[in-house]
C-alpha cells in the first residue's frame, strides 16, 4: 500500500510565545521547531501499515526551508521519501491555500491508498486540513482516529466524539486524521537518522503543481495577535485543610460567584 502522510512543522509545545513587532505573528527566532505531535501518530501508523502490508510511505509538507528538518525527522523514523512544497505564496496563504498546495502535491503521488495527517497542527490549531484535503481530492474522510484497521479495499476506523467512540467504515483511498491514543510513535534510531540523509526530498512550488496565485490568495487574514490577558494575582488560603476547604467554598460562592 502507498500511504501519504501530510506533516506540519510547529513550535515545540514548551515554547513561550512572543508576538512579533508587526503584531500579527509570533517571533520565530529561538523557536525550536518540531513535527506536530499529532502528525507523529500519522507517521507511526503509516509505518505500521507498511510493515504489515508492504508498500511505501511518502511524506508531504509545505513551508519554508526549515520544513526540510521536519521531513528528515519523519524519514529518520522510517518513511521512504518526501515532497516539500516550498512557495512564499503558499506560506502567506490561509488554511485553504495550504490545502490546495498539499492537494496539488498529493495528486502527483496518485495512485495512493491512504492519506494520513494529524487531527490538528499544534500551532494554528484550526484542525481543518483533513477535511479540506478530502474535499479537494474528492475522497471520503474519517477524522480524529484512535484505531485504524485496514481490510480489503476499506478501512475500519474508530473515531473519538464527545463522551464516546464511533466506528466508521470507509472505502479507500481515504483521508484519515490521527489522534493521541492511536499508537506510540517510535523514536528514530541512529541507523534511521543516517539512512534519512540519503533519502530523496523533492521540492516543488505552486506553479509546478498547476496552482495559480489567485487560488492561494487568503480568504482569512490575521489582523492582530496578542498574548492572553494577564490574570489577577492569586489569593492564597491559609489554615489547616478543613479551614482551607471551607474558606475556598465561601470565596467561590461570595466573591467569585461561580458556585
Amino acid at each position: 500500500m502507498k500511504v501519504v502522510v501530510c506533516v506540519k512543522q510547529v513550535p515545540d509545545t514548551e515554547t513561550r510565545v512572543k508576538i512579533a513587532p508587526e503584531g500579527n505573528a509570533i517571533v520565530e527566532t529561538d523557536v525550536n521547531w518540531i513535527v506536530s505531535p499529532f502528525d507523529e501518530f500519522a507517521i507511526e501508523e503509516a509505518l505500521r501499515i507498511r510493515e504489515a502490508r508492504g508498500g511505501e510511505v511518502v511524506l508531504v509538507a509545505a513551508g519554508p526551508d526549515r520544513v526540510q528538518t521536519a521531513l528528515r525527522s519523519g524519514l529518520a523514523m522510517g518513511a521512504d521519501s518526501g515532497v516539500h512544497v516550498k512557495d512564499p505564496l503558499v506560506d502567506a496563504g490561509d488554511t485553504l491555500a495550504t490545502a490546495r498546495a498539499l492537494a496539488g502535491a498529493l495528486k502527483t503521488l496518485v495512485p495512493f491508498d491512504i492519506v494520513l495527517t494529524g487531527q490538528q497542527g499544534v500551532g494554528g490549531d484550526h484542525g481543518q486540513m483533513p477535511g479540506l484535503l478530502a474535499e479537494l481530492l474528492d475522497l471520503p474522510q474519517v477524522t480524529v482516529a484512535v484505531r485504524i484497521e485496514i481490510q480489503d479495499g476499506k478501512a475500519v476506523v474508530e473515531r473519538e466524539i464527545e463522551g464516546g467512540r464511533e466506528t466508521w467504515e470507509t472505502s479507500l483511498p481515504a483521508v484519515i486524521s490521527t489522534q493521541k491514543g492511536l499508537n506510540e510513535p517510535r523514536y528514530a534510531s541512529l541507523k534511521g537518522i543516517m539512512a534519512a540523509k540519503r533519502k530523496t526530498i523533492q521540492t516543488v512550488d505552486a506553479a509546478a503543481l498547476g496552482i495559480d496565485a489567485a487560488a492561494l490568495a487568503p480568504r482569512l487574514k490575521v489582523v492582530a495577535m496578542e498574548l492572553p490577558p494577564a490574570r489577577a494575582a492569586v489569593k492564597m488560603i491559609s489554615g489547616d485543610a478543613e479551614t482551607q476547604s471551607k474558606e475556598l467554598l465561601r470565596l467561590l460562592h461570595d466573591e467569585a460567584k461561580v458556585i
Binding site: T13, E14, T15, R16, V17, I19, I26, P37, F38, L96, A99, V122, G123, G124, D125, H126, G127, P130, G131, L132, E135, P140, Q141, T143, V144, E160, E162, G164, R165, E166, W168, E169, T170, S171, A174, G181, R219, L220, K221, V222, V223, A224, M225, E226, R231, V234, K235, M236, I237, A241, Q244, S245, L248, L249, L251, L252, H253, A256, V258, I259
Partner: protein
C-alpha cells in the same frame, strides 16, 4: 439583507447545546447587522426542532428530514450545507466547534471556497463585516481575524457564547429540503466511553489531577472531588503519558483546550503546555504542595497543601455545601 446561517447539530432528537449557543450568537450578530438568522437541521424526525431553533432566534429553518440522514455522514451533510449556502448566499456560516462541527466545517469550506476560522471565542461586527477572536498555540496567543469575500465561515467554541433566553412561540419559517444521502464513509457503531459523565470541553466545572497524586491508585480522590462539584474530570499530560488515565481526559496543548467557569487543578505543577489549555477558565483554583509551582501564577485561589489531606476535606466540605444548597 444579510443572512447568518447556522448548522444546528442534533443528537438523540435534540439540538445540542453548543449548536443553540451558535444560534444565540447568530441572533446577536444578525441584530447588529440588521439581518436575519437561518439554521440547517439534518437528521431523521428533526422537523419538530425548528420550533426550538426559532425560540432561540432562527427566523428560518432548512429541515432535511430523512431516515437515510439519521446518522451523521460527512459527505452527505457537507453536500446539504453547501447546497443551502449556494441557494441562499448567506453573509456568514457558523457551526459549533464540536466533533461533528470540526469534521464538517472544513469540508464545506473547501467545497464553497470560503475562509474558515476555527474555534472562535468572540465574534463582533465591524463596518458590516465580521471579526473573530481565536486562540492559537492552544491559547498561548489570541489572533484577531477577518475574512475576504463571503460567506465568512467560523466554528464557535462550546461554553463561551451565552445561550440566549428562549422566546416560546417566536415565529419561524420552515423550508423542507431533500438531498442525496450517499457517503463513502459511514458510522457503523457508536459506544459511550464516559457514560453519564460530562464532556470536558462542554463542562461548566472541571476538576483535574496531576503527578502530585503520586500514582493511579490515588486518582479516585480527584474523581470524588469532581463528583462532589458535579464536574468533568481532567488530567495533566504527565499522568496520561504515564498511563494512569485515558488520553481523552488530557487538558493541554496536545489534549483538550477548555474554558469552564471553574477549574480546580489538584497536584498539577502547571507545565506551560497544560497552562495553555486551561488558562482561559473563568476562575482557577490550584491545590499544590509546592508554593512556587507555576500553576499559582494563573490561579485565582491557591491552597498550598498536600493533596492527600486537602482533597478529602474539600470533597467533604463541597458535599455539605451542595447538599445544603440543594
Amino acid at each position: 439583507m444579510a443572512v447568518i446561517l447556522t448548522f444546528a447539530e442534533e443528537r438523540g432528537g435534540k439540538v445540542r447545546r453548543p449548536a443553540l449557543e451558535v444560534v444565540s450568537e447568530a441572533r446577536r450578530l444578525a441584530d447588529a447587522l440588521g439581518g436575519s438568522v437561518a439554521s440547517v437541521v439534518v437528521g431523521s424526525g428533526v422537523g419538530a426542532l425548528a420550533t426550538e431553533l426559532g425560540s432561540y432566534g432562527a427566523d428560518r429553518v432548512h429541515v432535511f428530514d430523512d431516515p437515510a440522514l439519521a446518522a451523521y455522514a460527512t459527505e452527505a451533510y457537507a453536500r446539504i450545507v453547501s447546497q443551502v449556502v449556494t441557494e441562499t448566499r448567506p453573509a456568514a456560516v457558523l457551526l459549533p466547534f464540536t466533533a461533528v462541527g470540526k469534521d464538517l466545517a472544513p469540508r464545506v469550506a473547501a467545497r464553497i471556497g470560503a475562509g474558515l476560522a476555527s474555534d472562535c471565542v468572540a465574534l463582533s461586527v465591524r463596518e458590516g463585516r465580521l471579526e473573530a477572536r481565536r486562540p492559537m498555540y492552544a491559547g498561548k496567543a489570541y489572533a484577531t481575524v477577518r475574512w475576504e469575500g463571503e460567506p465568512q465561515m467560523a466554528t464557535l467554541r462550546a461554553n463561551v457564547f451565552p445561550l440566549g433566553a428562549p422566546e416560546p412561540g417566536r415565529p419561524v419559517e420552515v423550508v423542507a429540503g431533500s438531498a442525496d444521502s450517499s457517503a463513502r464513509a459511514r458510522v457503523t457503531a457508536t459506544r459511550a466511553t464516559t457514560a453519564g459523565k460530562i464532556e470536558l470541553t462542554e463542562a461548566q466545572v472541571i476538576v483535574s489531577g496531576g503527578r502530585g497524586l503520586k500514582g493511579p491508585e490515588h486518582f479516585h480522590l480527584v474523581q470524588e472531588l469532581g463528583e462532589a462539584f458535579g464536574a468533568a474530570v481532567g488530567a495533566s499530560r504527565a499522568v496520561v503519558d504515564a498511563g494512569w488515565v485515558d488520553h481523552q481526559m488530557q487538558v493541554g496543548q496536545t489534549g483538550k483546550t477548555v474554558s469552564p467557569t471553574l477549574y480546580i487543578a489538584c497536584g498539577i505543577s502547571g507545565a506551560i503546555q497544560h497552562l495553555a489549555g486551561m488558562s482561559s477558565s473563568k476562575i482557577i483554583v490550584a491545590i499544590n504542595k509546592d508554593a512556587d509551582a507555576p500553576i499559582f501564577k494563573v490561579a485565582d485561589y491557591g491552597i498550598v497543601g498536600d493533596a492527600f489531606e486537602v482533597l478529602p476535606k474539600l470533597t467533604e466540605a463541597a458535599r455539605a455545601y451542595f447538599a445544603g444548597k440543594g
